[in-house]
Symmetry: D2
Subunit: 129 residues, 4 copies
DNA sequence: TTTT
DNA sequence: TTTT
């Protein structure tokens, strides 16, 4: 019915870019997202969350993101079921990104932010009321 | 850079449906969203938030939503500037809905939920990794 | 850094309520969240997402939610690692709910919505600017 | 019922820090949030969104944020009504921040991210199922 | 200009 | 009353 997730974190590795048989680009990477509080042992914990992104944005991610870079993801949570090597059914969570934003400055002498448009292009007519 | 808002509330009136000169449908309505806590006077407060939705979803809202109905909106916050009747510049906030969900059962003998697809149709190829 | 997820779906079973050794209530349930689009075979898919909620809200969920009821969850995504029965390390995703809203009318003759306050209580002083 | 907004943008000015009569800190600032697409004139538009944040986080914002800095805000949208200088009732939108994240590196030779914990501290007991 |  |  409604499924919306927003994450900010750092890439654990460079993105992996693949193409489907029909030539559509798809990129995958993992985001390390620190929890805001410390646990009972006084240590900060981190969730490692798999991200999948399609099309032009996948190629942009492969070009502009790399290990350690800060990124924001806006998408939805998918629970994918797959057959394990043990013949068992397993589930894996991944975030299907609708939008990815690049939050790390391009280089150390630059405070700018590499940005990426969404692929969805709303028409911005005047509203008649 | 990133602008995402999710609301659940009740319509204060029936939606208004208009068409732009180029024939594009646009609907507007106000959502009454109760705050989760009481204020110092012990009363529950409410935010009245204007929603704008375009295209096929606008027509669906006009058909399926009405005063008092419960709805969820997923979209972005816009601050629109306009010239007041006093010649002054004013600002108004409104939510541009990307998705609207109808949460009120169709009728009293039904617990189902009227649902509306998004207009954006992701392709769901197999992920090659 | 930032981890926010909002879901609307139906419970696949009644919530399970437990207590930790130190007497803290915790409830678990699974939400069936339909995807907004159909897949290539023309069928609607569903994500089954595990929810965990603590404290007073856990007890409210156990009292007011049951199989098939519609609920909204606002929380964060956790990836928990555990030792499988096969001695292997596995990961499971779950949503730690900060807020749960009950969206199903109490009974068929009622269009009202059972609501639950958040546990977090902001003070609502006047803003001095 | 549910009111959640997540924004990433840049401060248009330094934050303003005030204290209520009862000594509670409150900070206000405006976030410039670029829209992801260009309008019909081919220009990128921006929403200027007022943020309010209370308590310890208000003081952290005053200390670590300044004009031009990148920040993420997670909170709720409030529509506040006030008496205009013309005796008229007006409405203003503002975001009550629950969490603010500082996304600009501390200085040019540092890619780190200044971070701020939430004030809300979940207990992280083991989940008994 | 406000809904249950 | 606007940021990069």
């Amino acid at each position: 019915m409604l499924n919306r997730i927003i994450l900010i974190g750092r890439l654990t590795k460079d993105p992996e870019l693949r193409y489907t048989p029909n030539g559509k680009a798809v990129a995958g990477f993992t985001l390390a997202v620190d929890r805001p509080y410390k646990n009972q042992q006084g240590e900060r914990e981190t969730d490692f969350i798999n991200i999948v992104v399609w099309g032009k944005q996948a190629e942009n991610c492969a070009n502009y993101l790399s290990k350690g870079k800060l990124a924001a993801v806006d998408g939805s949570l998918r629970i994918r079921s797959f057959e394990g090597q043990d013949g068992q059914r397993h589930w894996v969570a991944e975030v299907l990104a609708e939008t990815v934003r690049f939050l790390s400055p391009k280089d150390k002498n630059d405070t700018g932010v590499e940005e990426m448009g969404t692929l969805i292009d709303f028409t911005d007519d005047d509203i008649p009321f």
